[in-house]
Symmetry: D2
Subunit: 402 residues, 4 copies
């Protein structure tokens, strides 16, 4: 960023991101936002896609940029958006992910048993106090209590700028060109009808493409079997650490923030928010590096494996795995690694992942036709996104020792 | 191209294209190939997408480049491909479009009533004589008479390098980022099983994405309503010229090659191939510019409109248009442009376009699973490409005077 | 372009170009502007870089887009620019190249002995009459008679948006990645001081890079020896045709517009502007195709060679070529092609090209330092662009028959 | 990476990187190589360019990829390169940066007083033992004791694939498009003459462009003043920690590897290599986060500032800073932060950075002309890279408290 009140930030995805509001600048400079520099957007996906090491901070800036573009387009089409609404929507998207735990989704609800959106809201509320209420509109938009619903839908909905940015960005940094979406075209096709965000008829194919790109990114990248293995191993390590501590063991992580969250399940933000502000990927990786030499075999073996990218084998299939297969692999792990049955369960386990391409039961993507009729994207003529894609696809996995 | 026997050609799509075979160099230097410089790949699509002025020559070089990559990948996987087979497949793809008429698909079967593939074959046969049989393998591959069928499938099939290149290239030059396909990934996923081209299991999502990108390019670009209008106008102009000539009028185009094809319907390549080698976009555009001042109103008005991009209005819909609407618009055109009924029919007309996303009744895209089972892409688990997409989508259009 | 008063145009270089002014739309729709579709931006450069087939129309739209960005940046920095000034500057850049002859610079002053900028001005003046004076500000900016000089400098100066667009665009379509410039960064670094366009200190390296990229594009692309050969051949053909006509021969080109310019040297725009509006690459290529069979050997051989890309050999060097070498090659050409001495001069000739990387004697590129001091880019500390680069580099070429 | 012996790795910079040698695969899987995942390529540059978070591992893979391309090009030109030489060169480049300390160049010689190349060599030697001598050729190439010197020059020289990859990659991830180089063209222009790596005449402009891009990246990115501030702060923190420990204080970093290097200056690789293999960015960032609450003011304030991106102010100029200015700022820092004079020296300090665009006194970039003459790039006709650029440019900086 340069000097002065207007800043431009180089972004390989969009070229330049311009920051011209003092409030936005203040939010960016706040430690709660700077913390997002230390949280990777895609967890352990870089073990498969080595370029995928971009941060939550970068994503938040990108989503902020798209929000500005979206609001400008809507204004050009005659939709009324005041300066304070625009600022509110941009502040809301900037902070929408501030509540993410280390490694983003990998540890969602595992380290701290609170949804990240809830923590994001708590952070906004605390910042709102510090900033004498300047975030009130942002908070109302974020929590969908603001009258112009389309502003909330841009922050969080089927076509929000969050998804658009993460698809663009994750596709860019992984090099998976197939995840490319026509975000620029989609933004130009957005409109508002009866207060709701909609897409003009001409945008149908771009929307279909967007949903297909998302589907592809889920199965090919986010839920790539190697990523599933690494992230499961991380979850198992954290789970083991929590259990040992719950059993009264003096287990330290080298980070007081992480120590706190491993041993507490706080509910009141007043209690934990300050420590949360210090908790990031570095605490977790530091702990893993420490535990590589821990006497607990589960901790030391899993940590060493994850640090050195010696991952558990993993298989993926459309049907659940047989209990016998689990037993077979557990016996094998017990022998190979000299583990007891309890320990082996951390090395051999199964699970499932689900993803829905498009579920019109949730918030719909509505297409506004020239005759002012409205149809859901799965209901347009010759829809690619048929009803059959509304059902969540489940994939079952098993992790085991080679 | 540089000097020496190896040439590198800058290509904004792939970086560099390397030509290292004397035969390929000789084909490229032949007037039949150089003619493709003078034929735009996308006809009048540049009236909507101003960047889309790339040529058939460029596409042919790109497809040649992808063929080399595809063959290398297959060899790495242990598929046997001899040097002469490789050369044959590369020569075949280089020449696969040599038989295109001016403005490519716009005038397909309109100016010359022979499929462009047939003319391509005739050109290959003539070149084969000039080159003492060096193209025999290429011709056998092109006509699917070569034992290793997968070579033909790479030239012409659901997953041929022709489609891959034109999607890449047309997407690049139009700026329609949504047409981007993961061609590099698809090429890496190709394999051969029982002599047929197949795709490894890991490539399923890339193939789905490829089909969706193609679908999008069809409706958003190739069959964009403005493009449909311009190309229909061109067809009407050529049709009118042929009819006037058939009625005995002395109508000249300024090009002896075009004059010949406007007044003859030859079947025998010996008769027309030489003149065909001189026929390109420049002849047709030259004729239109000449006819802007022709006394025939149909020719002069349509030519002026097309040259100056004052196109006929066009509407697209899922149902056929009512005959009454045609009558209404014809009456309007007669009044506005002072035409008789026969003339008005060149300004007001309807038609239809059809496109199938994926039709497994044609050649299938087969997925080879790890257990050696084979399933069609529309039959894999949770297929995006469902049976419902096998039906051709029809769109009906009407063109009329504003 | 879509319907309605705001249009977006896909551009592979910048994504989308937005047109939101009725005047600009009207200019774009005018036949004088649509004519630019039929003139390639880079003449015969596509014979070396097959992607380089983009048009003057595309370049004009791109420069228009950059002008909008530049003006917005300056406004953000507090520079006053009224709505009518903004419209004037954008109209001026849109039309700045309207006066180009076919094949752009290749035939500059050869077909019509008037600078293309003069013809552009004449076109603007004629359009201004049609548009009741709406282009008056644009014309004043174009001719540097508008008080705010920086507006003219954006249209035509060392850092104008014309150069920025053509470097971006030519680099994009040729695939010569080294021509890439940081246009976005340069635009952000522009400022106005004492009414003159300047660059902020932070932009020094980007400006150096811009000058180096331009230098590279000149020698590697625009003056590539194969391009020099092809364009010289075209000039020789036109020259021969003019001479034959001047000698009283009835030589026709198949285009009445081209016939006119081959046989007249008009000075008064009233006389020639209408025919100029019909003159484009298609006329010239049509003539060449016609002349392939002309009885004049010079015309027929050179035209055939150029159409089929059998180009004259060319050598480039830093010193002028010896007259003896010319004589040697002329004798060779006379023998090989059975020509007389006069004819051979069209096949064997020499010439020179010059390019200056940066000449501070012309309009300077001024850097505005934080302390408000101003220094020319060649005078900053550790300047890359030293005085030695102010001298024009000359390269001498000879074309001859192999 | 997929399964099987051939792996393809997605790289957003080059598309796909193919690994087809078992030795290379084994090296990649080794913890010494995997460690590079945990070291950012560009230190704290991401504080200015948020995308610049790519890792040394990614760079090493990229350089490996370019090495393969370079060797293939040379082979095509008839240069003899055996399979084992090819493998050696590729292994050498893969491991060339294995000896980097955390935060790459930021802490070079600060944490461990040994050049990173020396440590890289020690690591190669240790791996060579583990691999029964399979790295002997690689080591000979790396240390320039292999007869075919050009192999060493590709690993480490003015035109090595190391530089080419880091310019490509750093430009890509920062979004500084001006850093783009024509690596593909340069690679195609490489040749070998009398055993030395040279560039063909046609590549002159690309080489000039390469040197200018490097110059730009240095001043605009690597030595950007904000980056200089952050990296200086890190150096000061490490220096303070080492001093406190040297004074006998019990200061811990939370990492036993880092603790070791803070308190030892080992020379013998046998002593430190194992711990070095565990030392990465995570140890350093973990220490900083721990020290944010340390009682030592220097450690706690500097660590807090760096973690929260509240950086020291920095000024850059061409002349050294006056001692009085240092004194002035130190007095200010003492007052503002309540420090003593010794502590203030960690907050207010000066330094210098130097960079040479091209120094022919070092290894030259030699251009091989068609007549087999050789000239240094600064000696070609009309050279951009003049003698004046051979002098190192120095920039002086001062860091201070706002």
């Amino acid at each position: 960023m340069g000097a002065g009140s207007q800043k431009i930030i180089n972004d390989p995805v969009y070229g330049f991101i311009t920051i011209d509001s003092p409030l936005i600048l203040e939010l960016i400079r706040h430690p709660f936002f700077q913390r997002l520099r230390r949280i990777q957007q895609m967890g352990f996906a870089h073990l498969v896609y080595p370029g995928a090491v971009h941060t939550r901070l970068h994503h938040a800036l990108g989503a902020y940029h798209l929000m500005g573009n979206a609001l400008n387009t809507l204004k050009t089409k005659g939709i009324e958006i005041s300066e304070s609404e625009s600022l509110g929507a941009r502040a809301a998207i900037l902070l929408h992910d501030a509540g993410h735990s280390p490694f983003s989704h990998s540890l969602e609800n595992k380290l701290i048993d609170i949804q990240h959106e809830t923590v994001s809201l708590q952070i906004m509320q605390q910042l709102n106090k510090e900033l004498d209420g300047q975030l009130t509109t942002a908070i109302n938009i974020f929590t969908d209590r603001y009258p112009k619903r389309f502003l909330h839908q841009l922050v969080s909905g089927q076509l929000d700028v969050d998804r658009m940015d993460y698809l663009n960005r994750d596709s860019f940094f992984t090099g998976v060109s197939e995840g490319v979406i026509g975000y620029d075209r989609i933004l130009h096709m957005l409109t508002v009808h009866h207060g709701e965000l909609m897409v003009q008829e001409k945008g149908i194919y771009s929307i279909e493409k967007f949903l297909v790109a998302r589907r592809l990114m889920y199965w090919q990248v986010y839920l790539h079997k190697t990523v599933v293995s690494a992230e499961s191993m991380l979850v198992k390590i954290i789970q083991r650490a929590k259990e040992r501590i719950a059993f009264g063991e003096h287990l330290y992580s080298g980070s007081s923030a992480l120590d706190y969250f491993l041993s507490h399940s706080p509910k009141d933000p007043l209690e934990y928010l300050e420590l949360f502000g210090l908790l990031d990927d570095y605490d977790v990786m530091g702990a893993l590096k420490l535990w590589m030499n821990h006497e607990d075999k589960v901790l030391s073996i899993l940590s060493s494996m994850l640090i050195n990218r010696r991952l558990l084998k993993v298989r993926l299939q459309a049907e659940p795995f047989d209990e016998k297969m689990l037993e077979f692999h557990r016996a094998h792990a017990m022998r190979t690694l000299n583990l007891n049955a309890g320990e082996a369960a951390y090395f051999v386990f199964n699970g499932e992942h689900a993803n829905t391409t498009y579920n019109p039961e949730d918030e719909k993507i509505n297409i506004l036709f020239k005759d002012n009729s409205i149809r859901d994207i799965s209901q347009v003529d010759n829809a690619l996104i048929s009803r059959s894609l509304a059902t969540a696809v489940k994939k079952f996995y098993i992790c085991y020792v080679a």
